[in-house]
Amino acid sequence: MEYFIQLFMSGTVKGSIYALIALGYAMVYGIIQLINFAHGEIYMIGAFTALIIGATMASAGVPTGLVLVVALISAMVWAAAYGVTLEKIAYKPLRNSPRLSALISAIGMSIFLQNYVLLAQTSNFVPYPNWVPQFAFLEDIKGILNSNQFFILLTTAVVMVLFTLMIRYTKMGKAMRATAQDKAMAQLVGINVNQVISVTFVLGSVTAALGGVLICSYMGQINYYIGFIAGIKAFVAAVLGGIGSIPGAVLGSFVLGWTESLGAGYLSSDYEDAFAFVILIIILLVRPSGLLGKKEIKKV
């Protein structure tokens, strides 16, 4: 039983990690129906920025707590800036083009950003400082849940709640929902669609950066390539939940996390990713629009 709880918790943590990245995918897809392949790179750039700013401050003797806060904020600021610039350059000129063109553009950006960081920084793995405070009350159960994992869970929960509130109650949230449903209509009723899209990219990038910093702190290392695999997994999670749906992305992430952890724990980690993909295929066969995705009605 304790083993099950351990696996379940590790699945939950993994799910939270995926959720932080998957949110951005789901939001962007919801608004402009684009698989933002470069989203994983935004996550990586956010984490790198935090490392650089944090290392600068730490070597100047700034206290750790302050380093964490400033590093996190700068990660989010720059990730958001990259997200918005990415949209302006690579996606906006393609808004009325076939979907495949935008997807290839996204793949191109993903390759570009990876190599940009590789050239501007380094191809080696770089140690990542653990900025997360260590909680004393978790000391006894750290085999099940340690401070980093706890912090990731907490952050994901807070982000989820904030997002739900934002989408449901703020003016921007309503504008986002309207744009997701019908872009032309939203424009007609006076919604600034360009602005909504920018905000979507900002929010997606900010959560990705947050995820990047926390996950790198947890794993203790970073390199230019970390975004690719994490991005693919988060993308799978978003599709699993019903791409475009924010609660769906969260649910999909947890389903993915649990499947991988329990599959690795009870069966074999050789096929850890395969379990994730098999679950994906089964769910899509039963529900072709994902767990919480809306069934589309063909318009004739």
């Binding site: 350059i89 570009f112 395969a274």
Partner: protein, 417 residues
């Protein structure tokens, strides 16, 4: 395009330059290094003016290009070369020159050049195959490398398990290549059919992710089931194709495989062209244009999709066997998601649905990285950027699709063109 407001343009470019200085500051100006386990930062202030000037200029170019794109989009592009080549007076010598060039290639150039050319030919076959799925069928396929692997492993494993028997029976193992070519094609076709069967009702991006999943599962199987597939260490010593029982040296093998690949490419082009002009080709075209209308006109979408998946997979089977024969070694690392993406890029970059496009796409994707090794570090950076720019400024690809259209001449008998 007239009346450039210089003041406004200058302001915009300045703003762009400032924005990019801010954007690239942490990554371009600061550099993290680990010395004695301690992260330290080196400052590279000299990058600031570089970034500023670069983006100040690029901003101009960008806006000019975007405007030009919007301006010229409506007009038909002046395809002078295409028009010239359409006339038999010019097309015949061009075709003869090309044929001479292709036939003379392995004799005129070194083994290395020939091997690179074989890679190009393999990618042309892959591109033509994926083009059936993506270009004609309009189905986004992100797991094509799985079928490529299927082809390569059919030959590789056939050799692993049956090779000793062949030696025992005194039969040249090189003959296995000629058995593997049709066998792998059929296996890939069947595999494509089976994979496609359950997922056919998924649409768009859902289909993409499921094909991606199938591709990855296939690779994991190859990696993990070492007892069957020889695992990550791969299959080595795969025999070169048989030719009248001769002992084949690498130099000769390169020429030989080149010609096999060339023949396969020519057959592929011919077959794909025939398919395009046929009943099933028109059904694909209709399905891509408007699936509901196509279905209402009596086209069975399930069958059309199945056909495009299965026929597409078949070419991957051929390509796989060629790869195995060329490298004599295969392992799962050659069939990753990246491989699928590269093949997709060949198709989209060259021009979706366009056969000459796929050819040019393969040549560029394989030859440029191979010959531009001196730019090795910037190669992938430029490649990524090129994909983005191509999509924005030349959406149809390098050679956009130009389908042969059925027309009807009323004069006389009504000759079919």
């Amino acid at each position: 395009m007239h009346n450039i407001d210089w003041k406004k343009e200058l302001k915009q470019s300045t703003l762009a330059a400032l924005w990019f200085i801010f954007l690239t500051f942490p990554l371009m100006v600061m550099k993290v290094a680990i010395i004695q386990g301690q992260a330290t930062i080196t400052w590279r202030w000299y990058n600031v003016p570089v970034v500023a000037v670069t983006f100040f200029i690029l901003s101009f170019v960008w806006r000019y290009m975007l405007e030009r794109r919007n301006f010229t989009q409506k007009k038909e592009s002046k395809d002078i070369l295409g028009k010239l080549l359409a006339q038999p007076k010019y097309s015949r010598p061009a075709i003869i020159a090309l044929a001479v060039f292709l036939l003379a290639f392995p004799f005129a150039f070194s083994m290395y050049q020939t091997n690179v050319m074989i890679s190009v030919l393999i990618y042309i076959i892959l591109g033509l195959g994926l083009n059936i799925v993506v270009g004609y069928g309009g189905l986004l396929h992100l797991g094509y490398a799985a079928f490529y692997a299927m082809g390569a492993y059919s030959y590789g494993l056939f050799f692993t398990y049956m090779g000793p028997k062949f030696i025992e029976w005194g039969i040249n193992t090189g003959l296995m290549f000629w058995i593997a070519i049709p066998a792998a094609a059929i296996l890939s076709l069947v595999f494509g059919f089976i994979v496609c069967l359950p997922v056919i009702r998924l649409r768009g991006d859902y289909l993409a992710i499921v094909t991606l999943a199938f591709g990855e599962i296939t690779r994991m199987f190859l990696q993990n089931e070492g007892q069957i597939t020889l695992g990550p260490s791969g299959v080595s010593q795969i025999p070169r194709p048989w030719l009248l029982g001769m002992k084949i040296t690498p130099v000769f093998a390169a020429k030989y495989v080149y010609f096999i690949a060339l023949v396969l490419v020519i057959i592929s082009i011919k077959v794909v062209k025939n398919l395009e002009d046929s009943k099933i080709g028109r059904a694909w075209e209709a399905m891509r244009d408007d699936d509901i209308a196509a279905q209402s006109m009596g086209i069975d979408l399930t069958r059309a999709k199945l056909a495009s998946f299965a026929v597409g997979a078949l070419w991957a089977g051929f390509a796989g066997v060629l790869l195995a024969a060329k490298t004599t070694f295969i392992n799962p690392e050659s069939f990753t998601l990246w491989e699928s993406i590269i093949i997709l890029c060949v198709v989209v970059l060259g021009g979706m649905g366009s056969i000459p496009g796929v050819i040019v796409g393969s040549v560029l994707m394989i030859m440029l990285p191979e010959y531009f090794r001196s730019f090795a570090e910037y190669r992938m950076l430029i490649f990524g950027l090129a994909l983005v720019l191509m999509m924005i400024f030349r959406q149809g690809g390098i050679i956009p699709r130009k389908r042969k259209q059925h027309t009807f001449e009323v004069e006389g008998e009504g000759a079919v063109k």
